[in-house]
């Protein structure tokens, strides 16, 4: 297959060998699971259980809280110990409503929805429904509810389901392992998704630093002419949705549009496997493979982890720390989030837990920008990080916005390459936060303003009407002209404001 170049990018030290040859092992069931209501983008789920309830594995314990939301299920059988606030796996370390489940050790499945026996003749809606019910979200890290993305086929004409097995983040090997160990499940899931989306083709993109995964997946796909496995160049951030679509199709997703507007929908490989389980067996998403790695972890591994296990449990299972970790990261080292506490649970979007030593992070004191231009060269979005950072430092966020800071997806390439160790991404995250707040604020103000204007106009109109009524009683000649003009104006203004 002909591939297309993508802009910029870097070649960090991948260090995937730490965990890539470790077959997936299951985490022994911890003494408690902490299942947050919000593990996804969108509205939090709504609790369905009470303290003391007995639940079975796979039972829905919180239902979807809106159009963009996702339910939560019990990852094992046991008793609900509490529904309370617990530290979230987020850099803020802020607490979040969480269901605490005490496993009973039996790990008994409850009543599951019937398998969809022939998914390729099933109505796509039945598949959306099943995926939504099963609590499946994007497992590459973004955790966007998958059913919403599967629904795109009803709105747009789609051509390709692009399965993202690039796994371009250093250290992470969970997708690699899943592809090597469960290729048939992934391909079956992908074909079901393609049917639901109405796409004719499935393309599975895997970075060339995973040759075993490529050959195993290619073999598994050989039975299906509509499924193609492609090795893509090793170039961070190849796994970014828009860039992967460009590499495969050569087409650039316009700003503020979706890849679906180009006819391509991207899903993660592990998500496809979850869809396979949901459709073929009725099993919801209750566990995922997490790569536990980094120089400070004694035995890096790929661990099948029930959703809700504490990160501390996971690290302990991997032999604990062998060195002092400088940072504990949720996700990959490039785009992952620092963890405030090891008490936070593993959620559906947790692809990796990394305990990194100071040496691996290689942070140094910041010095002045020498205008080397490296950041400009590597930015996959074609931005000028040094200029944006300079304006943000002067608190000139408007100019930074004009230079495109809102287009930055914090891939970290610029910070990585900067010889002066300027924390560029930190500046951009700050600016994006402030600009987002400002926009929300101004939208609110505008709404208030327009409401107020409508009200003023209404009052004026009422007054006009009164005057007109008064004038009507008098001889028509001296009152009519001014009132009609005013009324017409008010009417158009109200129209503009509604």
């Amino acid at each position: 297959m002909k591939l297309f170049p993508i802009l910029g990018g870097i070649h960090p030290e991948y260090r995937k060998e730490l965990a890539s040859e470790k077959a997936i092992v299951a985490l022994p069931m911890p003494v408690a699971l902490y299942i947050p209501l919000q593990q996804h983008i969108g509205a939090p789920a709504e609790v369905l259980v009470n303290e003391g309830d007995l639940v079975k594995k796979g039972q829905m314990i919180a239902r979807s809280g809106g159009a963009v939301s996702s339910p939560q299920h019990a990852a094992t059988s046991g008793r609900i110990k509490a529904v309370t606030d617990v530290t979230a796996p987020h850099p803020s370390g802020l607490p979040q409503t969480t269901i605490i489940l005490e496993p009973d050790g039996k790990d008994e499945w409850g009543d599951l929805p019937e398998p969809i026996t022939d998914p390729f003749t099933a109505d796509p809606h039945a598949i959306h429904e099943r995926v939504a019910q099963s609590g499946i979200v994007g497992m590459g890290g973004a955790a966007f509810p998958s059913a919403v993305k599967l629904n795109l086929g009803t709105q747009k004409k789609l051509e390709i389901l692009l399965l993202n097995g690039a796994e371009c983040e250093p250290y992470l090997t969970c997708d690699d392992r899943v592809m090597r160990e469960y290729p048939d499940e992934i391909i079956d899931g992908a074909r079901i998704m393609a049917h639901a989306l109405g796409t004719a083709r499935v393309v599975i993109a895997i970075e060339q630093n995973k040759p075993q995964a490529i050959s195993i997946m290619t073999k598994a796909a050989s039975a299906f002419p509509d499924v193609e496995v492609v090795g893509v160049p090793v170039q961070y951030p190849m796994g970014s949705e828009r860039h992967l679509v460009q590499a495969i199709t050569g087409r650039e997703t316009p700003a503020r549009k979706l890849t679906a507007d180009l006819g391509v929908v991207v899903h993660n490989v592990a998500t496809a496997r979850a869809v396979h389980h949901a459709v073929r067996f009725g099993r919801p998403l209750v566990a995922r493979v997490v790569t536990v790695s980094g120089g400070a972890i004694r035995e890096p591994n790929n661990v099948m982890t029930p959703i809700g296990a504490r990160i501390a449990d996971l690290i302990e299972f991997c032999g604990g720390f062998s060195a002092r970790p400088e940072s504990i990261v949720n996700g990959g080292p490039m785009m992952g989030q620092p963890l405030a506490s090891l008490d936070a649970p593993v959620v559906k979007g947790t692809s990796g837990i990394l305990a990194l030593t100071a040496e691996e992070i290689n942070d140094r004191p910041t010095s002045a920008c020498i205008r080397c231009g490296n950041c400009v060269t590597v930015c996959p979005c074609g931005l000028s990080p040094l200029d944006m950072a300079a304006f943000i430092r002067k608190d000139n966020l408007d100019v930074a916005a004009k230079l495109g800071v809102m287009d930055c997806f914090s891939c970290g390439s610029c910070s990585w390459v900067c010889p002066s160790h300027i924390p560029l991404v930190h500046y951009f995250n700050y600016a994006k936060g402030v600009l987002n707040d400002l926009e929300r604020e101004s939208r609110k103000n505008e709404r208030i303003k327009s409401l107020a204007e409508v009200r003023i106009i209404r009052i004026e109109k009422a007054a006009e009407a009164k005057r007109a009524a008064l004038a009507a009683r008098k001889p028509a000649s001296d009152a009519a002209p001014p009132s009609t003009g005013g009324e017409a104006k008010a009417a158009t203004e109200e129209k503009a404001n509604t």
């Binding site: 316009p254 090891l342 205008r371």
Partner: protein, 358 residues
């Protein structure tokens, strides 16, 4: 967990490139050409080289201390050494000590620290040093010597060298003209280029560096080797050197074809003066050149064309330094107009239209 620090933003990985490493590689790349030229011009050149670098480092330390900035940590970035090195390479090889020191003051104190230190300067410090000296002391700055390789007959010994560098005893018999200067003088006397070229070392000797010229600029081949090394190490890219030398060569060749009696050839322009040094080591200075690749091409073409124009039409035989300084002043504007196109947007910043499917 309390022992680990919480950094707000990633990435939690970083390349191994540092400012210090970059500067060090540039120095390494300069070393062969410098060593060859120090050998070629002997002890006086070695003394001047040492004095100029020491002066730059001392002045940098003084300026940092005055500004209340960390002295040791900043000196460690090697940028003052690099400035001093390039400055020394652009001085006449047997110039007296004060030329090196004064040039260092202009380069480091005026061009760099008056603007706010590393990264803030608009003009290339070494070129400011050289140019201000050339304007202020036109005589001292244009005394060239023919090569006198170390230990060869006629090469001054260490003691004579001290007399030359610190005593100002320039032996008259040794002076020579640079090729560009010679052509210019002869032209002004009405002697055609075609004729005066005959008096110059042949092009092969010029490429090797056996010619009169500034302390470090004469060996085009060794400088080219250093430049290629920097490209290989990805410290510099091809954009500035190629566009600068390409444009210089093309315009020179064009005019040479039109009027060979008045204009020297493209090859001559490439091999004489500071063309190679300028293209690989001076115009490519990060701080004072544009950051985007497109900007660098525009910048390089500007330097090339200006160099040729100054060499031919201005009062000075050599134009690289002036050309670089002129383009330095344009770099911020070039940068503004040559920002890369953002992903998914047009050059104007509008979202791309949604093309119909192919």
């Amino acid at each position: 967990m309390s022992a680990t620090s919480i950094k707000k933003s990633g990435p939690f990985a970083h390349g191994y490139n540092t400012v210090q490493k970059t500067m060090f590689l540039v120095l390494l790349a300069l070393a062969p050409a410098t060593a060859f030229n120090l050998y070629l011009f002997g002890w006086p050149a070695i003394l001047l080289f040492a004095i100029t670098i020491s002066a730059c480092v001392a002045i940098e330390a003084g300026c940092l201390a005055l500004a209340g900035k960390p002295v040791k940590a900043t000196l460690a970035d090697c940028s003052a050494i690099l400035t001093g090195w390039l400055l020394a390479m652009s001085l006449p090889p047997w110039a007296p000590w004060w030329v090196g020191v004064l040039a260092a003051v202009f380069a480091v104190a005026l061009a760099k620290h008056a603007f706010g230190g590393i990264g803030q300067n608009v003009f290339n410090p070494a070129m400011v040093g050289r140019t201000v000296m050339l304007i202020s002391f036109p005589v001292s700055m244009t005394i060239w010597v023919a090569p006198h390789p170390l230990f060869s007959a006629g090469s001054p010994g260490l003691f004579e060298a001290f007399a030359i560098t610190f005593g100002g005893h320039m032996p008259d018999t040794m002076s020579a003209a640079s090729a560009l200067g010679y052509i210019k003088t002869e032209l002004s006397r009405g002697i055609a280029v075609t004729q005066s070229m005959g008096q110059l070392p042949d092009l092969m000797d010029m490429a090797l560096g056996k010619r009169a010229g500034s302390l470090g600029e004469t060996s085009a081949l060794l400088i080219l080797a250093g430049g290629l090394f920097l490209m290989f190490k990805r410290i510099i890219s091809w954009h500035i050197p190629v566009s600068m030398m390409g444009s210089l060569f093309l315009i020179a060749a064009l005019f040479h074809a039109i009027d060979p009696a008045r204009f020297t050839s493209g090859t001559f322009h490439l091999l004489s003066g500071a063309t190679f040094l300028g293209a690989f080591f001076i115009a490519t200075d990060y701080v004072t050149s544009p950051v985007s690749k497109l900007g660098q091409i525009v910048f390089g073409i500007g330097v090339g064309l200006l160099t040729w124009s100054i060499r031919n039409f201005a009062g000075y035989p050599e134009g690289v330094a002036f050309a670089v300084l002129l383009m330095n002043s344009l770099a911020p504007i070039i940068d503004q107009y040559t920002r890369p196109r953002a992903f998914g947007r047009s050059r104007k910043g509008e979202p791309l239209p949604l093309e119909k499917k192919p």
